[in-house]
């Protein structure tokens, strides 16, 4: 869990993660906004379906992937904005239809 270093200012933006309404300081990344809201698991992997969340927060590990407007993006590299709809990236349930 993560706590704010200082009392939250008035400069907050409202955004959505799945069906949860959340707020975060203006200028935060989606990753820090979610961590600040107590959310550490952002997605399930397409390989095993295991839960994952942010790891490096500097754009290198690709573990904090979320879906915004249908595009898979790194939450740690994406600024949060008012009205942003952030979706969890689900396990892809890849079907090996047709394989022997």
């Amino acid at each position: 869990m993560f706590d704010p270093l200082e009392p939250q200012g008035t400069n907050q933006v409202q955004f959505q993660f799945e069906d949860r309404q959340l707020s975060a300081p203006q200028g935060a990344t989606v990753a820090s906004a979610l961590l600040g809201a107590g959310i550490t698991a952002f997605r399930d992997t397409p390989v095993s379906g295991a839960a994952r969340g942010p790891f490096c927060l500097m754009g290198a590990c690709y573990d904090c992937l979320v879906s915004i407007n249908g595009v898979t993006v790194q939450a740690c590299m994406t600024p949060v904005q008012d009205g942003l709809q952030v979706k969890r990236v689900g396990s892809r349930q890849v079907d090996s239809e047709g394989a022997v």
């Binding site: 993560f2 990344t29 600040g36 550490t40 698991a41 942010p54 927060l57 500097m58 740690c76």
Partner: protein, 463 residues
């Protein structure tokens, strides 16, 4: 049309910012491309926007970054922020995305200043939500305004102590420090102590951090072995042993660190020469005293050429700028010599403590040779045992192992598994790390949507 510059600098950390300031002074036209919205790199991240509270917690070394960001602003160099570079060619063409739109610049000389990444630290359970790098926790302090609650810090090295001390300054002491280095590592480092004493400021600083940690009463466990991060779907506890005694600490946040390593994605993509450094336990691009790589039109400054820290990075950024300017004819060889000599002396001085630190805090043995079941490729979920099996099947290098088992094929492109795969194969085959080699890196250096790629204007290639 593609904009053309004398020098393109990739990365706006200390090396990139210092290089930009120096190069523009010498009359070069300079563009700086950086992924973050604000200059500073990871070390000085958000330094211009941070609050007084953040500056107090993070300390004067962090605040010093404002000198460099001011230098960049004053330099007149074009700073393209929020630019994700996804292709670089040896002839100086750089393609990047900014706000989802592909752009391209070209330059007569490239300075790579892409810094370092956390050394991969594969441990059982390191992929669980709640397990992050120590660097990630620092980034949250610097730019997220967040501090971890009761985390366990695991690994070794000065950054771990720095983070602990910063958390204490924030009134949030860590739950515990689980340190992997042992007394015998300190003993092994004694030969480097004389050199380190010449860089005594680093040692005094380290002692100061340790004093704060002790005074705050943070429990320390040194020589920790058999570390396992446990939980179902998220971290709930950390288990480890110290001299045969088992310990378990309940926590939902663990912060890992056992050193940083050069980010060589671009130098690898350019197929520059690299050699394995046995002291730093990683590959370093080959550079000369002027930071010039094996390709004369490409220089590498800062931690990307070998870990030295922020001060060394800023000095080497200046050296790289001088070397590039001389190649571009903006500076005579004579003027170059007199300008770089003091910088090179200063750099050597700053590096005195380095070998001592490297030997005192070696990478955790458990992560250099992870147990078979430990995941080493986070993206494709490949375990250490898979790599060992591929070695037995005849894989001598990471590229064949990648073909056999996908380690390095995910979106991170081997950033968090490449070194481990090389280490594992070298252990299994008895080859050196240099003989084993590294993953081949190709465009896109970072994922890009097909739409963005399709929209890229090929005609702008004709420059």
């Amino acid at each position: 049309m593609t904009d053309t510059f004398d020098i393109a600098i990739l990365g706006a950390g200390p090396a990139g910012m210092a290089a930009a300031a120096r190069a523009t002074q010498l009359g070069a036209s300079v563009v700086v491309l950086d992924e973050q919205p604000n200059p500073g790199g990871q070390i000085y991240r958000n330094v211009d926007q941070a609050s007084d509270v953040q500056h107090r917690i993070l300390g004067p070394d962090y605040s010093h970054g404002r000198v460099l960001t001011q230098g960049l602003r004053d330099s007149g160099a074009l700073h393209r922020a929020g630019a994700t570079v996804w292709d670089v060619t040896r002839d100086g063409v750089v393609t990047y995305s900014q706000n989802g739109k592909p752009e391209q610049i070209s330059a007569r000389h490239l300075i790579l200043a892409t810094g370092a990444t956390e050394r991969p630290m594969p441990l059982p359970g390191w992929t669980l939500p709640g397990v992050m790098t120590a660097g990630a926790a620092q980034i949250l302090l610097k730019s997220g305004g967040l501090v971890a609650r009761d985390p366990v810090l695991i690994g070794c090295g000065p950054l771990l102590y720095l983070l602990a001390a910063q958390m204490i300054a924030a009134g949030r002491k860590p739950r515990a420090l689980i340190e992997t280095q042992s007394r015998s590592d300190m003993w092994a480092a004694r030969g480097d102590l004389a050199g380190a004493l010449r860089g005594w400021r680093y040692l005094v600083k380290g002692a100061g951090l340790m004093a704060k940690i002790m005074a705050a009463g943070v429990p320390r466990y040194t020589g920790a072995r058999d570390i396992a991060l446990e939980g179902q779907g998220a971290l709930t506890s950390v288990r480890f042993t110290v001299r045969g005694k088992s310990h378990e600490i309940a926590t939902d946040t663990a912060l890992l660190h056992h050193g940083v390593v050069p980010n060589t994605q671009i130098s690898r993509a350019l197929r520059l020469d690299h050699v394995y450094d046995q002291t730093q336990r990683c590959f370093l691009p080959t550079v000369d005293a002027l930071c010039t790589s094996s390709e004369p039109a490409v220089s590498i400054a800062g931690d990307g050429a070998g870990i030295g820290g922020a001060k060394v990075a800023a000095i080497s950024g200046q050296i790289a700028a001088l070397g590039a300017a001389c190649q571009l004819g903006l500076l005579t060889p004579h003027a170059l010599q007199s300008a770089v000599a003091p910088l090179q002396r200063q750099r050597a001085h700053e590096l005195h403590a380095r070998p001592f630190l490297d030997r005192s805090y070696p990478p955790a043995a458990q992560s250099l040779s992870p147990a078979d079941a430990t995941i080493i490729c986070r993206c494709e979920e490949v375990a250490a045992g898979d790599i060992r099996r591929f070695a037995k099947l005849g894989c001598k290098g990471p590229n064949q192992a990648k073909a056999f088992g996908r380690a390095g094929m995910g979106p991170c492109q081997g950033r968090f598994c490449g070194l481990t795969v090389t280490e594992l194969l070298a252990q299994e085959t008895g080859q050196s790390q240099d003989e084993t080699g590294a993953l081949r890196i190709r465009a896109p250096l970072k994922p890009v949507t097909l739409g963005e790629l399709a929209a890229y204007d090929a005609s702008s290639q004709d420059t």
